[in-house]
Amino acid sequence: MWSTLVRWYHQLGSPRYFYRFSTVVLPWLWVLAIVLTAVGLVWGLAFAPEDYQQGNSYRIIFIHVPAAGAALTGYVAMGVAGLVALVWRMKMAEIMIRAIAPFGAVLAAVALLTGAIWGKPTWGTYWVWDARLTSMLIMLFLYLGVVALMKAIEDDRQGARAASLLSVVGVINVVVVKYSVEWWNSLHQGSTINLTRETTMPAEMLVPLLVSMAGIYLLFAVSVLVRARAEILRRERKSRWLQEEV
């Protein structure tokens, strides 16, 4: 088991193997991601029952929660890739950083937008300094910082390595941000409304949520693979194996 994992790690660490692997996997992943997202969202929009407190506005959850979850997972994944890139100077990890950041930022923006729109019917306003919305706003800022840094540095490798360091620092920071923002929210209670619903979700709502979550995560994976391929194609455009591959 362990040796298989190690072999995988080394194989996927080589751009050549990764490129072949993604050529085989991508078509299936595209289909699966689109089908799961579509099924999850349509199920949530049209077939799941209404929430007895919030009415139909709660249906935003089927896009909001998956986007927020995937944005957070993506940031952590970027930090892990950054650590690997810095410590082992692994090429694929550098490529991954560049591949994860754009879609991660988009998902953070989606989570914020949907959260704000959901806020209007629920809290009566588009923006509340709620702990979760605030954390997501800071997460978006962190993503934008990584993207801005990569854009500012002309050299690809140097930009990726700088982004690696920034995202490692950022991941350490995210943990503290989460804790500090919760503390901050409790400090100023009264000025904010808390929408922490601890009630358990009935299965008719939970299942479509899980399906759309799987769909969004897979779309993220698709986006990462496609962007990583673009990056490999750009970096290795002069190598023979790639010219034979395309």
């Binding site: 934008l144 910082g145 840094l149 140097q158 360091l165 920034l166 950022g170 920071n173 901050w184």
Partner: protein, 220 residues
Amino acid sequence: MFLASLHRELLLVWRRPAEIINPLFFFVMVCSLFPLAVSPRPALLASIAPGIVWVAALLAVLLSSESLFRQDHDSGALEQMLVAPQSLYLAALAKMLAHWLLTGLPLVAIAPVLAYMLHLPASGYTALFVGLLLGTPVLTAVAAIGAALTVGLRNAGVLLALLVLPLYVPVLVFGAGVVIYAVDGLATDGVLALLAAMAIAAWTLAPAAVAAGLRISSGN
């Protein structure tokens, strides 16, 4: 070796006193803009004083950190530091310490005056002072990482702010929050201990990150 480079850094800044005084002026000016922009009512100012002082201090540290490595980069001293046999970790630590002693510490010293001008209740002073004393080192450490990553880039200023400001959130929250705690008569030890822990963590990890950042920025 560490003391020698610290001595060098301090001496360098000492020859250009504007580098110490300008951030201080900036700090004072930003704080005085708020009563003009919001209202001179003491009750209102008192309630937002912790936030104003902390945000202004944070911006002052951020702005002054942009030049942290620029001169060494331009003069080629940075290249020498990178290839020198001495530890880059210690060199980075010396730079950070010099920066904090000459920018962070004066800010902490002058903060009570500004707090007074903003009508902060007397019960908040200790928390503000100790909080800044523990928090400004974190601000310096994080800014140093950003400065190391952006050294040599054109328009590094705004980019540096984009990278560093979101990383400042926890310090700002706890630093300004602990003053509110103190004014409300709650115990501040726990939060101050947390700030101290953050300062220790930042100063052990940041020099390594700064060293790595300088290596990346110089392309080796």
